[in-house]
């Protein structure tokens, strides 16, 4: 048995199709994940970065609710395997709709389910990253900001946000790469992403060595692109 590059050349178009879908799921999923993560991350810090006059009355109740909801979301996702989350969203959700609202036939296509799974899953981890970086911002800077007479929104937009973002980049890069690789799990719900394409070709020609080598290299290239993009962003954002 020899390692035959021709096999890889033949398989390449199908593998690249799969890689394209992997990108699509990853990027769209991470876009959703970032949105959810920022919301839930800020939700978890609601009212904990009280500087200045403490919240009172209704604001305390709102902060508590935001904290509890965000906490429950993060714990639920961190406490269950992503593969179970994917199965739930793809197979169990339609049934849940039937049970709860008596609507039948609500069914997500597999790619949509995959995007949603990545978004929800990455969102929980990103929430922790956001929370950690926001909490790491020096209280003195927050006070100095408020002391200039800006609003709380301006404080977050101009001081807390930009500073927290810089601390988030390394752990975010980590999460982005994990999420990209997690898309390979969607083989279980029949999404034709890279791993699935590899599996199908392998099943027809039994050239496991060539195919899985090629698949691994393509993943490596994709994760390197992500890592490189984040490094570039990090360098651009660096404070002297």
């Amino acid at each position: 048995m020899t390692f035959e590059f021709d096999i890889i050349i033949d398989a390449l178009p199908a593998l690249l199709e799969g890689a394209k879908l992997t990108w699509y799921i990853t990027l769209l999923g991470l876009l959703g994940g970032m949105t959810l993560g920022v919301l839930a991350g800020l939700g978890r810090t609601a009212g904990t970065r009280q500087v200045g006059i403490a919240a009172s009355g209704i604001h305390i109740a709102i902060n508590r609710t935001l904290q509890t909801v965000s906490f429950a979301y993060v714990e639920l996702i961190r406490g269950t395997p992503i593969i179970v989350q994917a199965m739930f969203i793809y197979f169990a959700m339609p049934m849940l709709f039937e049970v709860l609202f008596e609507v039948r036939g609500v069914r997500l296509d597999a790619v949509t389910a995959a995007v949603i799974t990545i978004a929800i899953n990455a969102g929980a981890y990103i929430a922790e990253i956001v929370r950690g970086s926001v909490l790491s911002i020096n209280k003195g800077l927050i006070e100095a900001g408020l002391a200039t007479g800006i609003t709380r929104f301006q404080l977050y937009a101009n001081i807390v946000g930009p500073l927290a973002l810089r601390r988030m980049i390394p752990p975010l890069g980590n999460q982005f790469i994990i999420s990209l690789k997690d898309t390979s799990l969607f083989i279980v719900i029949g999404v034709g992403e890279l791993t699935r394409q590899g599996q199908e070709i392998m099943a027809s020609n039994f050239r496991a060595l060539e195919i899985w080598s090629a698949v691994a290299v393509i993943y490596l290239i994709m994760t390197s692109i992500l890592a490189f993009a984040l490094k570039f962003f990090e360098r651009k954002m660096r404070i002297i």
Binding site: G52, A144, A147, T148, G149, I159
Partner: protein, 243 residues
């Protein structure tokens, strides 16, 4: 209206800890009030209450006509009129010197970028740092950072400036440049409340000296007279330590 700050039977507690007690005090326009007192006596808390970074728990505190705690929703208006300089400078590390100073005029006062930059450039000139406008805080010495922080607070055009131990984090040779700037600000008629242990500043620039201990306002009067002949034993002891 000449009164900038008025404390009426003010108390402040953190849980069970009483930090300010029965404070009665008025600061008129143009005064330079210097506050001294041992560590933990409540000096910082007093300043932070004025600037609405803390809310008082007893009595009434009127700053520029706004009464706390009744009108606590107007905290931001108070902060616009009360600039604050911190012991640790707290410059925004991701902004240049010019951006730090232009930040308040631009965001809090709504000036255009160009106008804000002009205000900032003028003030940097005034604190002697015109040639450092493109530097980041990490590229400046402590004394330079504190002068930028003073410019940043002045840039919002406050009626009152609060200084919380502005030179305590500085090496002796850097203290002087900051005190000189503060003196200049005082000479221009700015109303100032300064927590400091620099007795020379109190003597030169202060119009009134206040001694605090354990949350009480113990003694107040003309700085030089008080330093020469402290009435209370507590102040006598304290002065022996600082000078």
């Amino acid at each position: 209206m000449n009164r900038v700050v008025e404390f009426i039977d003010v108390g402040k507690r953190f849980g069970d800890l009483e930090v300010l007690r029965e404070i009665n005090m008025k600061v008129e326009f143009g005064e330079v009030v210097v506050i001294i007192g041992p560590s933990g006596s409540g000096k910082s808390t007093l300043l932070r209450c004025i600037n609405a970074l803390e809310l008082i728990t007893e009595g009434e505190l009127i700053v520029n006509g706004i009464s706390m705690p009744k009108q606590k929703r107007r905290a931001r208006e108070i902060r616009l009129e009360a600039g604050m300089v911190f012991q640790q400078f707290n410059l925004f590390p991701h902004m240049t010197t010019l951006e730090n100073v232009a930040f308040g005029p631009r965001k809090a006062r709504g000036f255009s970028r160009k106008e804000a930059n002009e205000i900032a450039a003028d003030l940097l000139d005034k604190v002697g740092l015109a040639d450092r406008s493109g530097y980041y805080p990490s590229q400046l010495s402590g004394g330079q950072q504190q002068r930028v922080a003073i410019a940043r607070a002045l840039a919002v055009k406050p009626k009152l400036m609060l200084f919380d131990e502005p030179t305590s984090a500085l090496d002796p040779e850097l203290k002087e440049e900051v005190l000189t700037v503060m003196q200049k600000v005082a000479e221009e008629g700015m109303t100032m409340i300064v927590v400091t242990h620099e007795m020379s500043f109190a003597a030169k620039a202060g119009t009134r000296l206040i001694f605090m201990d354990e949350g009480y306002l113990i003694e107040e009067g003309d700085p030089k007279a008080m330093m020469a002949s402290p009435r209370t034993e507590r102040l006598q002891n304290f002065l022996r330590h600082v000078t």
